[in-house]
């Protein structure tokens, strides 16, 4: 039937700005009817030259740039940079600072995952879910504001510690929010996760096979949904994650196939309770002491050397390679971001999908163009 109906291919360019796209990028599709035959990707519309800008600024100011790597999950960029710089300069963050960092990192993970859930909800047209999720993310952003003074680009982590001690009531509110989140997660599940219409949209759609994921070096929740058990927090523990007890969920393909869009969605939902577990444990045992090992001035100099910091961001392995030639300015700061791999495999995943699935697929991949373009 399809053979006889063969029609000419149409070309459709989506972007750089379109409501279904996760950020400014251009998709050049060749479509056969409504089926995508192949797609090409053009990115770079959000290139801000962060890595170059960092070379032109004193060390403390680079943190501001690192958190603009992905403003939605700002802490991870800062953490990767600070870990690398601490490795070079031999600074050691005091235990209290480590605990605050873990709190921030897990709160950010939850808030980024909630943002992801909201984006998937928006792509599938589930309005109520979006509002519930954003309402709850607001609570976490409130926590950020209480601790750091900003809601989105926090700029709070410093070399050898954090910028300030926890404010009064912060720890209690973290515990409160993590209790609340457990209730909310159940609500999301009842409302959306196994909704028949959502399963029809997401289950079995946009499957990333383990081999494909591996070929492009995919990491993070997307890779774990595909069955690759890799989590930086386990493989290269930082911030004392080795002492914490948590599981790394893997995708099973409960509704469709392993590594499909629903699996990716579900995996993030499963990661939130693990992060809540960590939050609870750390918040209850915040050690006393200093929050930073020294005050970082503008004249802060990093000795000659190199450092490499790996962090598990909400999207995967975020690494930072710092080269210093002993001065007030960095010689080179390079980021390895997880979205690069996701973007690289995107053309292979979209081939064969109907265009109506494109928004759901793009939302389910959790692309961050801000991060990929830098």
């Amino acid at each position: 039937m399809l053979e006889r109906l063969r029609t000419d291919l149409t070309y459709w360019e989506i972007g750089p700005y379109h409501g279904a796209l996760p950020g400014p990028m251009r998709l050049k599709l060749r479509i056969d009817g409504e089926i995508i035959v192949s797609g090409e990707l053009e990115t770079g519309f959000l290139h801000r030259g962060l890595e170059k800008a960092m070379e032109l600024h004193p060390w403390p100011a680079t943190i501001t740039y690192a958190d603009h790597l992905d403003p939605e999950a700002a802490v991870f960029g800062e953490l990767a940079l600070c870990l690398a710089v601490e490795e070079i300069s031999g600074l050691e963050a005091p235990p209290r600072a480590q605990a605050i960092r873990v709190l921030l990192s897990e709160l950010t993970r939850i808030s980024a995952h909630l943002g992801y859930i909201a984006r998937v909800g928006r792509a599938t047209g589930a309005e109520t879910l979006i509002h519930y999720v954003l309402r709850d993310r607001e609570r976490i952003l409130d926590l950020f504001e209480l601790l750091t003074g900003a809601r989105y680009s926090l700029n709070f982590v410093r070399f050898g510690g954090v910028a300030a001690d926890v404010t009064e009531g912060f720890i209690e509110r973290v515990l409160e929010v993590s209790e609340l989140m457990r209730v909310r997660l159940k609500e999301y599940n009842d409302l959306f996760t196994f909704n028949h219409a959502f399963l029809l949209r997401a289950a079995g759609m946009g499957v990333i096979e383990m081999g494909l994921a591996f070929r492009h070096g995919l990491t993070g929740p997307n890779a774990r949904a595909a069955g690759i058990s890799f989590d930086v927090r386990k493989a290269h523990p930082y911030l004392g994650f080795e002492a914490l007890d948590f599981e790394v969920p893997l995708g099973h393909g409960e509704a469709g196939r392993q590594g499909d869009a629903h699996d990716r969605f579900l995996l993030r939902l499963r990661e939130i309770p693990q992060s809540l577990e960590i939050l609870k444990h750390v918040a209850e045992n915040v050690p006393s002491g200093e929050y930073a090992c020294m005050k970082i001035e503008r004249e802060f100099e990093v000795p000659r050397g190199e450092g490499y910091g790996r962090v598990e961001s909400s999207r995967g392995l975020l690494a930072c390679h710092v080269v210093s030639d002993s001065g007030r300015f960095p010689a080179r700061i390079q980021f390895r971001v997880p979205t690069t791999a996701t973007l690289a495999l995107l053309p292979e995943v979209i081939a064969g999908l109907p265009i109506a699935d494109l928004p759901v697929l793009l939302a389910s991949l959790d692309l961050s163009l801000a991060e990929a373009d830098r």
Partner: protein, 363 residues
């Protein structure tokens, strides 16, 4: 309880009030009736429904909803309308094809005002075909919308147009069969016959008279959603992947006309569902009979229309609130749902209700 004498029709009352002699051409009456219904029923309903819908969905979503324009935001629809009307064109060249097909689309839509049943005396056209006229209008509407999409020469327009056509064809079949089921129950396809077969008490409504009619009711409503691309079956005008499909290039006045048309389609369908399946305008407690014997025709007509619209609004609100929690289906899933779920069930209901009614007659 067959049709009422033409002399009693509200339109004659209205035209005599306005000073027309009985010899005036019929089309003048019809035109007056259309404008009257449009201004008095449809526009206020659209405003009210958009406000209620927004408030209700806000309640669902732990929000406040519109609350700044007037007390509790009641004037929000008016504010929206004013805003849309004063918007300027994005481009200076006048897309006459778009205007043409928007016109066709709008005319097809509002031609059904002639057959919309709003009360025992507000039946402009009550023939044995009147229930099928909205179907015809929906097909012309689909053609108009499709060509409206094509005329925009953009990918969302093309895909939106084709999808609209696909959805109308998919949705028309099961809802047509569902109407047949109701026809078997009531014996004729006049509005008055549908009304006559029901009473005010919910268990005497066609939808609840037997299980097959209930299936037919559900199929009719769901088929209508597919046919008119109402959420959650609005894949044809999906905002995410198609930029709103056909409407992606409309703006300002044209957009408000188009939106109003979409609302009217949904409204018409809900009125039909209420008349055919949900007890129509029959007033409770025998109020209708009392008023008729007392010759309070204006009051009777008013009460009947309000009662009907009240039920219609409840139905519409139920559907929109369902759309709030229900993810949007993909276009092929929507048409699949119509062809593979609604259609078999409608046929099942048709056979069932035929047997049920036949068995009842035999006994």
């Amino acid at each position: 309880m067959s049709s009422y004498p033409q002399e009693a029709s509200w339109i004659n009352l209205l035209s005599s009030t306005l000073g027309f002699t009985p010899g005036t051409q019929e089309w003048v009456f019809a035109a007056i009736g259309l404008v009257f219904i449009y201004c008095v029923i449809i526009l206020p309903s659209a405003a009210m429904m958009s406000f209620l819908d927004r408030k209700l969905s806000a309640d669902f979503q732990a929000r406040v909803g519109p609350n700044r324009a007037g007390p509790a935001g009641v004037f929000q629809p008016l504010a929206d309308l004013v805003k849309l009307l004063q918007k300027e064109a994005a481009s200076t060249d006048w897309n006459w094809r778009e205007a043409l097909w928007l016109g066709v689309h709008t005319m097809a839509l509002y031609s059904t005002v002639a057959v919309i049943p709003l009360g025992s005396m507000a039946l402009l056209v009550d023939t044995d075909m009147s229930v099928f006229l909205p179907f015809w209008a929906a097909l012309v509407l689909a053609l108009g919308t499709m060509l409206l999409g094509f005329s925009q020469a953009s990918v969302p327009g093309w895909f939106g147009g084709i999808r609209i056509a696909a959805q109308v064809l998919a949705g028309a079949f099961p809802s047509l069969v569902a109407v047949l089921c109701a026809g078997i129950h009531s014996g004729d396809y006049r509005w008055s016959a549908f009304v006559g077969a029901q009473a005010a008490f919910p268990l005497r409504w066609t939808a609840f008279s037997d299980p097959f009619q209930f299936i037919a009711f559900v199929v009719f409503v769901a088929g209508g959603l597919v046919m008119l691309a109402v959420p959650p079956m609005d894949a044809a005008v999906s905002l995410r992947d198609l930029h709103g499909g056909v409407s992606s290039h409309l703006f300002g006045r044209r957009l408000s006309l188009y939106r109003l048309g979409r609302f009217y389609g949904f409204f018409l369908w809900s009125v039909m569902a209420t008349v055919i399946f949900l007890g129509a305008w029959t007033l409770p407690f025998g109020l209708g009979g009392v008023l008729r014997t007392r010759e309070e025709l204006w009051l009777l007509q008013l009460l009947e229309t309000l009662w009907l619209l009240g039920k219609t609004f409840l139905l519409m609100l139920a559907i929109t609130s369902l759309a709030r929690v229900h993810p949007r289906g993909r276009i092929d899933q929507v048409t699949d749902f119509s062809w593979k779920v609604l259609s078999p069930f409608s046929l099942f209901a048709l056979i069932g209700s035929a047997l049920w009614t036949g068995w009842g007659l035999l006994r």
